[in-house]
């Protein structure tokens, strides 16, 4: 099979393609924190995870009074949906109220990135109640990720979300 894709490009074509690449990296560059967010999200101790995709990210509330706005994010995995509502608290921190569906008592881990890219991540762990609710209060702003683990180290699937910026 002839394949003109493997035919050599002349220098003009190469220069044009190089310029196309350069101009795109000027007008539509990846966000500056994209590499960091990916590296944080995949730096997991156990890589056997089901991915819960971000399907909805809503800001609800009065725009005039920004402090009363809540942000609701829904993550959807094959086995479970995670919904979290976040609100800024007056002390400059974040309160996160979450629900798991189907509801279950599970260990919910909130991984938080260190203050600098080299600082180790920290984790807070809570257990959801029978109705699937969980709360993290007094959370610092920054890069975070939710992981849901079985209560016993059984065979139930672990679920991981992409990182989100609190």
């Amino acid at each position: 099979m002839t394949d003109s894709a493997s035919e050599p490009l002349d220098v003009t074509d190469q220069a044009i393609l190089e310029q196309v690449r350069a101009v795109h990296s000027l007008v539509d560059p990846p966000p500056s924190d994209l590499d960091e967010r990916v590296r944080f999200a995949i730096a997991l101790e156990n890589v056997d995870v089901e991915v819960a995709r971000l399907v909805e990210d809503l800001l609800v509330g009065s725009g005039a009074r920004g402090t009363e706005r809540t942000r609701t994010i829904t993550f959807d995995g094959d086995s479970r949906t995670i919904m979290v509502t976040m609100v800024d608290t007056p002390d400059g921190r974040v309160r996160m109220d979450g629900w798991l569906a189907p509801a279950a008592r599970l260990r919910v881990e909130l991984r938080l990135a260190g203050a600098t890219p080299d600082a180790p991540a920290t984790s807070e762990i809570v257990v959801s109640d029978d109705s699937g609710r969980f709360v993290f209060d007094g959370v610092a702003h920054g890069l975070a990720q939710l992981l849901v683990h079985p209560i016993d180290e059984g065979d139930a699937t672990r679920v991981a979300t992409p990182s989100l910026v609190l």
Binding site: S6, I16, R21, L58
Partner: protein, 204 residues
Amino acid sequence: MTPVSTDTTPSAEAGHDDRRERLARCLERARSGELAALDEVVRELNPLLWHVARAQGLTVDQAADVVQTTWLELLQRLQEIRSPKALAAWLVTTTRREAWRVSNWRRQHKQEGTEILESTADRGPEPSERLVEDERDRVLWGHFQRLSERCRTLLRIVAQVDRPDYSIVADAMEMPRGSIGPTRGRCLAKLREMLLADPGWSSS
């Protein structure tokens, strides 16, 4: 007038081989449990994945989430992927599928009455040309915008990959591998014709 030759730039080919070897070593280390070795692979391939997601019409925030989701999904597949080329192909295919899933979900769940966070951050698929300061870049960007959407998408992605890896472009575009070359040829010829006819580009 720019001289036309059929220079195949051997140094670029050598650079490609070096890069591929480096990525192969990183992949090997990651598969044996050293996940930090993926950092370099992330740095190398994120721009390609970004442009694949954006070329599907996703917002900045959606594209960033899709790229992350793709890497997370890779974790479970790491043991099955043997070469940097297979890795790039798998990542591009997954990015495209995830991007499609997002735009499809969005079409089905158009929210009304709530303020959607993305609407504030959404720069849309057409990036701002104010950022292009160099005159020659501006001329190219102007002509590039006049190409068909298919040509813009193809050239945008082709420009991100080394030439021996055009099968990755086929994955990204959902096009048969054999049609990438001819399509690229037509799109590039069109752009080149416009550029060479424009004194703002060809005389400098």
